[in-house]
């Protein structure tokens, strides 16, 4: 498209193409530029969009388009506008108009349905017992067409508004508030429903303050922050009229202060917010912000009462304000105090069945077994509960469950996240987190090791692994990406993540400008940035799993010390060999006599056959070397191979101008391919060698060209080890020859094969054999010094004597080291340059627009901490966990509170700034924070303290009055009740069915997912382009924590339950409720398999029907069925039995596992097939119960 010369014409054309979906990215940019710069462009654009919408959706316009003859009333429109006005087109609807109208109503209905199911579709959360309606619904055999939305529980902790859907406008509320403020409240509340959204700026449960009790932080700052700070806040660049309202001096200082304490009349602030003239009123209309009468009233009263100022609560010191006279549990004391103020009381303790399930899910992410439940229920008394908590915290599953939350914050993933999204090996960091929680590592150590473990004196391997926290950010290696730019982005990510996780600050906003709402300046941001700006990491990750800096994570200290020992011995052996070479003399030795026997295939027409040589098993080291001349045209051809007819074995081939070595366990999926692409041109020749250390790992394969090591890479597969042997019987070694497919013929000479891994210099000697033979033919006096040295090395390598012995033992040591190293996982770590950290301000966040240089420093607005801290990451970490730091402990206890109660004391767990939520219980938050610090940051003790409170143990029963008054349970008048997280739902199903494999740690596993998901997002040359499922219980049934996390396509059955993609730090997951979730629970092969095994399990563990049903219910939700429930379940069991008796094929099909046939259930007695199938369906129903997918 050639841009027209008239910019207005160009704009119209761009907009037109945009509306047709035909405008490329660059065109949209140009459009944005024109809209910015061309006068009148915006109006034109807006009119274009309007025209498009009219044509597309207005029944009147559609009607005209569909009619050949224009209606009379419209024909006469020009000039006779009264006619048009009298006969408004939408009042005379043609049949077609009605049709269009119907369809738009249908769309609205669909929207309403989603909302209805979200709010009302689920079981009544006020009923702890599952009513009949719960059980009657999920009957897919009966009613497949019905959307099973009601299966997903509609308990909705986050909706928060309690507004119902009504087609007709409701009566105006008798409340004195005007509709605007009601609306404002509603919109703000709705915005608070997810982690990415803004919550209400003020805590709505707060009663209006009595006279004289207006608190700036609680009542005034939220109003100013929401409505004023964008233009009159901390950001100097966007500050209007040189007025700032975020500081006392700004509001009350200067020549004409806008706030005159005690005198609302003369305060310009009050005059402006009450102005009626559009030019004077604040906030100005175009800001889309406005104050409610109640807010104006509050501000006026605050000024009249003296305009008392407070600094932002979260930046003030943490104080333990527990009164001395307070009795009993401090948590309950604070909660009761707030409840009393609101005229409410605490709920009674939950029943024992509910309590044991709640505690077990909260501490381990798994449900209790029926035996554990029975033991707890049978044992009365406080001690039983305390013992339960202690016992649960001792289980390895405690650390796994805690780690799962932390890894959301740490944005952990198993791929790099950008561009190719290749495999990244950093799971040792994930395992470190699990271990840290299980070992109850104090939170200060936990912090210091993750942020600066590498800087600790004599850092251990574990401390280094911990620094993986700051290597979890997404990285790229895309061609054309600018290294400096990406290094800047990585540092920005680290500042943002660190600020969010430890301080609850949205520091990222200060990357381009001073923060709009919080006092964090650009200088503060880049001073923090400087701490992270001193890394040895390259900007491009090289698409490698071990992008530097990386270390090997040895399994054991012994292995690590063995590796260190080997490295020392290798160095010594090298020196010894040097010495031996110097002393040796090869006078009178003829190279031709000692040269290895090699196979020449110069003739090349027919494939060479070397019999049974080259037969290696997976654990046998070997070396293969040869001289080649490649065919003169591009293509693929075998250089050497030993494979059987099923193509198992090993081969070296040339393809796509690369030489690739492949060890094939089973063709075509399970093989290790390693090679160098696009380096070997058609017609070229040279010497090639490959050695293998017998480790079964890709890193154990080393490639050489002309005797030098090649930096090779893994080709096309990301898993990097074989499990089973690749040795084959009945295959023959083949060297060169005509390729049966391409017909190309390479020339291969000097082919040698060794059953050990040669040392580098031995391979060098092999590559120099031919030139050395030529040198040997010369008279000694005609040889140059270089030739003499070359010949001597080749002779030394091939002649028996001290040198060859030394080199052979060197090779042996190297092989052992290689085997350790190549089977030990690598993991990404931080490491610091020697220089002093520093940074430049980056203007507007652009890496190339450098401003002033800044040194690392702590944000100036936070209290200065009196401690001798180094100005590097270690100092930063110690500053964060210093007892005087006002934020770290508060943010940490809040995050933990949120895990247990579903919502934090500060709802915005990620934002403790002025735009964040005020704490619902400020004194409780501070008490918990100071307790955490005083306990020496004892994390398990904190969980214990919270869970032993009566507040935690309350029943979650919700009556209507409470639902109305406090739908989100911010006042804590009841126990927590919310949908379990994605991982817990899956793990629970596996656990209850007895399938769960509880192995802790190790590389990520890939259980089933629907086909095509990775492929849809994967670049063709990405090593995670194709999804390969792992088979077998040890991979398919591991806890979801260990599921391989490809960032551009996370496991779909977890993502549907709001698991994040882990591209950036998430402190608070969304908790949505969609029909798709029920479809997953009913149809996802994991869950169908779990149902099958759950059915099998209860059929085996109990005899009578009712006992079996009770057992199933106990396994899933911790208590047997009531009689009323039983009638419902039995009814559906009978129906399923009938269905499957008459359709045995369907029954058999249900018992067949589509994903992995070894998990199909073979029933010995054919008569039992319908029975097992019916029980499987009942199990599916029960897995869907609100009581099962919720924590109650």
């Amino acid at each position: 498209m050639k841009p027209p010369s008239d910019p207005f014409e160009e704009l119209t054309e761009l907009a037109s193409r945009l509306l047709d979906g035909e405008l490329p990215e660059a065109g949209t940019k140009r459009l944005a530029d024109l809209l910015d710069s061309l006068p009148g462009a915006q109006d034109r654009f807006v009119r274009m969009c309007e025209l498009h919408a009219m044509l597309e959706g207005e029944p009147a316009a559609q009607s005209i388009l569909s009619s050949d003859h224009l209606p009379e009333n419209v024909v006469s429109l020009p000039g006779t506008k009264t006619l048009g006005a009298e006969a408004a087109p939408h009042e005379k609807r043609s049949p077609r108009q009605s049709l269009v109208r119907l369809s738009s109503v249908a769309a609205l209905t669909a929207a309403a349905l989603v909302f209805f199911s979200f709010r009302f579709g689920g079981p009544d959360p006020t009923q702890p017992n599952v009513g009949e309606s719960d059980l009657a619904e999920p009957n897919p055999a009966e009613d497949v067409g019905k959307p099973p939305v009601s299966l997903v529980d509609a308990e909705d902790e986050t909706s928060g508004t309690g507004i119902s859907v009504e087609a007709e406008p409701a009566e105006t509320s008798p409340d004195e508030e005007g509709p605007e403020s009601q609306y404002e409240r509603a919109v703000l509340a709705s915005l608070g429903s997810g982690s990415q959204k803004r919550p209400p700026a003020n805590f709505t449960g707060e009663p209006a303050p009595a006279d004289g009790s207006i608190r700036f932080n609680r009542h005034i700052r939220p109003i100013l922050s929401e409505n004023c700070y964008a233009c009159h806040g901390p950001d100097e660049a966007s500050r209007e009229a040189d007025l700032r309202l975020d500081t006392l001096a700004g509001a009350t200082g200067g020549e004409s202060p806008v706030v005159v304490a005690g005198d609302a009349e003369s305060s310009e602030l009050i005059a402006r917010i009450t102005a009626t003239d559009a030019d004077d009123v604040m906030p100005p209309p175009e800001s889309h912000k406005s104050l409610s009468p109640a807010q104006i009233e509050l501000l006026s009263r605050w000024v009249s009462e003296g305009a008392r100022w407070e600094d932002h609560w979260s930046f003030m010191p943490i104080a333990n304000r527990l009164p001395e006279e307070a009795e009993g549990n401090a948590i309950d004391y604070f909660v009761d105090r707030t409840l009393e103020r609101n005229g409410l009381g605490r709920s009674p303790e939950a029943d024992r069945h509910t309590l044991v399930r709640r505690a077990t899910l909260d501490l381990t992410g798994l449900p209790p077994t029926p035996e554990e439940t029975a033991a707890f229920v049978g044992e009365e008394g406080e001690a039983a509960y305390e013992n339960l908590i202690d016992d649960l915290m001792d289980r390895p599953s405690f650390g796994e469950h805690r780690a799962r939350y932390w890894l959301d914050a740490a944005r952990y993933g198993d791929t790099h996240g950008l561009h190719l999204d290749n495999y990244r090996e950093i799971w040792p960091y994930r395992d470190w987190v699990v271990d840290a929680f299980n070992a109850n590592k104090p939170f200060d150590e936990f912090t210091v090791e993750q942020l600066a473990g590498d800087l600790l004196p004599d850092a251990t391997q574990e401390q280094q692994i911990a620094t993986g926290f700051n290597r979890c950010n997404v990285t790229t290696s895309e061609g054309g990406a600018i290294e400096e730019e990406f290094l800047a982005r990585y540092a920005v990510d680290r500042v943002s993540t660190t600020s969010t996780v430890w301080m609850g600050l949205t520091a990222g906003c200060a990357q381009c400008h001073d923060h709009k709402f919080d006092p964090i300046t650009m200088k503060d941001f880049y001073s923090l940035y400087a701490f992270f700006n001193n890394t040895t990491q390259p900007g491009m990750d090289g698409n490698a799993k071990d992008s530097p800096p990386a270390i090997r994570a040895y399994d054991s200290p012994e292995q690590k010390s063995r590796s260190e020992d080997l490295k020392k011995r290798i160095e010594a052996a090298g020196k010894e060999a040097e010495k031996a070479l110097k002393e040796a003399s090869f006078e009178g030795v003829d190279l031709a006599d000692v040269a290895p026997e090699s196979y020449d295939h110069g003739a090349a027409e027919k494939a060479g056959d070397l019999g049974n040589r080259g037969a290696f098993s997976i654990d046998e080291p070997f070396t293969v070397a040869f001289r080649y001349k490649l065919p003169t045209e591009d293509g693929r051809t075998i250089l050497a191979q030993r494979v059987d007819e099923r193509e198992r074995g090993w081969r070296v081939f040339w393809e796509d101008r690369g030489i690739i070595v492949e060890l094939i366990e089973s063709h075509p999926d399970k093989s290790l391919k390693r090679g160098v692409t696009r380096r070997f041109k058609a017609g070229s020749s040279g010497h090639f060698a490959v050695s293998y250390d017998g480790s079964g790992a890709s890193d154990g394969i080393t490639l050489y060209s002309a005797g030098d090591r090649l930096a090779s890479r893994f080709v096309n597969r990301w898993f990097d080890s074989l499990e089973n042997d690749f040795e084959v019987e009945g295959a023959k070694l083949r060297v060169g020859g005509k390729d049966p497919v391409s017909g190309l013929v390479p020339t291969v000479n000097e082919f040698v094969v060794y059953d050990r891994r040669l040392a580098d210099r031995e391979i060098k000697a092999l590559s120099e054999l031919t030139p050395a033979l030529a040198i040997a033919k010369k008279a000694p006096e005609k040889r140059s010094d270089k030739e003499k040295a070359q010949l001597k090395l080749v002779l030394a390598c091939h002649t028996e004597g001290p040198y060859r012995d030394a080199i052979a033992s060197l090779a042996e040591l190297q092989t052992e080291l290689s085997r350790i190293e190549s089977t030990t996982a690598t993991t990404l770590v931080m490491s610091e340059k020697d220089e002093t950290p520093k940074a430049h301000l980056l203007m507007r966040g652009e890496y190339e627009q450098k401003g002033d240089e800044v040194a690392p420093a702590f944000p100036a607005f936070l209290p200065e901490i009196d401690a001798d801290l180094s100005m590097n990451r270690l100092g930063l970490a110690r500053w964060l966990v210093h007892p005087d730091h006002p934020l770290t402990a508060r943010v940490t206890v809040n995050r933990i509170w949120q895990e247990l109660f579903g919502i934090g004391l500060v709802k915005t767990a990620e934002d403790f700034g002025t735009q964040g939520d005020n704490p619902s219980h400020p004194d409780l938050l501070d008490w918990l924070a100071s307790t955490l610090i005083e306990s020496g940051w004892d994390v398990k003790a904190l969980y214990r303290t919270i869970m032993l409170s009566e507040t935690y143990r309350q029943s979650s029963r919700l009556d209507e009055a409470l639902a109305e008054h406090d739908p989100e349970n911010r006042l804590l008048a009841r126990g927590p009740r919310f949908r379990l997280d994605a991982e817990v739902i899956r793990d629970q199903a596996l656990f209850a069915s007895g399938l769960l494999d509880d192995t802790v740690g190790g590389p990520g596993v890939r259980p089933y997912q629907p086909a095509g998901i990775w492929e849809a997002v994967g670049y063709t040359n990405s090593n995670t382009q194709t999804f390969f499922q792992d088979y077998g219980g040890s991979a398919e049934h591991r806890r979801s924590l260990y599921s391989f996390w490809k960032r551009t396509a996370p496991p779909p059955n977890l993502a549907l339950f709001d698991a994040p993609n882990r591209e950036s730090c998430i402190m608070r997951r969304e908790r949505t409720n969609t029909p798709l979730q029920a479809l997953v629970l009913m149809n996802d092969p994991h869950f169908v398999r779990a149902s099958r095994y759950l059915a099998l399990r209860v059929l085996g563990e109990a005899d009578a029907r009712d006992e079996r049903l009770d057992r199933m219910a106990e396994l899933l939700r911790g208590r047997p069925l009531t009689d009323r429930e039983r009638r419902v379940v039995v009814n559906s069991l009978d129906q399923f039995l009938n269905t499957y008796e008459s359709d045995r094929a369907a029954a058999a099909e249900l018992l067949t596992d589509d994903v992995n046939d070894s998990f199909s259930i073979r029933v010995g007695e054919p008569a039992n097939v319908p029975e097992l199938a019916a029980w499987t369906m009942v199990a599916t129903q029960m897995l869907n119960l609100a009581e099962v997918i919720n924590k109650n």
Binding site: F45, V46, L55
Partner: protein, 179 residues
């Protein structure tokens, strides 16, 4: 204190049910959202979100007040939410531009019904060919590519035709909207 709304709705709005108001406003809301995010596919998503929110908040709407302004404001918040959720790849307009465009739509809003009436006349004024592509595009909801295949044109020619048709329609609407 009232919302900063510049014009009130035509009086007939006050007699309509909430559902009718919503149905009537679908094209206007789509236009509003599309103007701010310049992405066809996401416009539908954001419109859907807006509808859900409107339903949720239906009780907060006072019959007789300006529905258009209220609904636009809800849509504006949904657009902001959408912007927060999407990375730079989808966001074409910066904050200032979005604010300014939102303002432009709102300022244009009062004459909507008049323009719609004018449009009905103006469609009849289009040259045959232009009217044909507009019909294919909007009545049959066909893509540019598929119209091109049908008519045996190049896609670019169809785009040009559509562009000219829209220019003509806009000019005509402008001329015939009563002052």
């Amino acid at each position: 204190m009232t919302l900063p709304v510049k014009n009130s709705d035509p009086p007939e709005n006050s007699s309509k049910s909430f559902a009718d108001l919503m149905a009537d406003h679908q094209p206007r809301l789509a236009a509003y959202i599309r103007s701010l995010i310049a992405d066809e596919h996401s416009t539908k998503d954001v419109l859907q979100e807006t509808n859900v929110t409107l339903l949720k908040k239906s009780r907060d709407f006072t019959p007789g007040t300006n529905f258009t302004a209220w609904a636009f404001r809800v849509a504006f918040f949904e657009v902001l939410t959408w912007r927060r959720r999407h990375g730079r790849e989808k966001i074409h307009f910066d904050n200032a531009l979005v604010d300014s465009l939102a303002n432009a739509v709102e300022e244009n809003a009062p004459r909507y019904e008049d323009r719609l009436e004018a449009l009905q006349f103006c469609i009849g004024e289009l040259p045959e060919r232009q009217r044909e592509v507009i019909e294919l595009r909007y009545l049959k909801t066909r893509s540019v590519q598929s119209i091109a295949a049908d008519l045996g044109f190049k896609a670019n020619a169809v785009s040009q035709l559509l562009h000219r048709a829209r220019t003509n329609l806009l000019k005509c609407i402008n001329d015939y909207t009563p002052a």
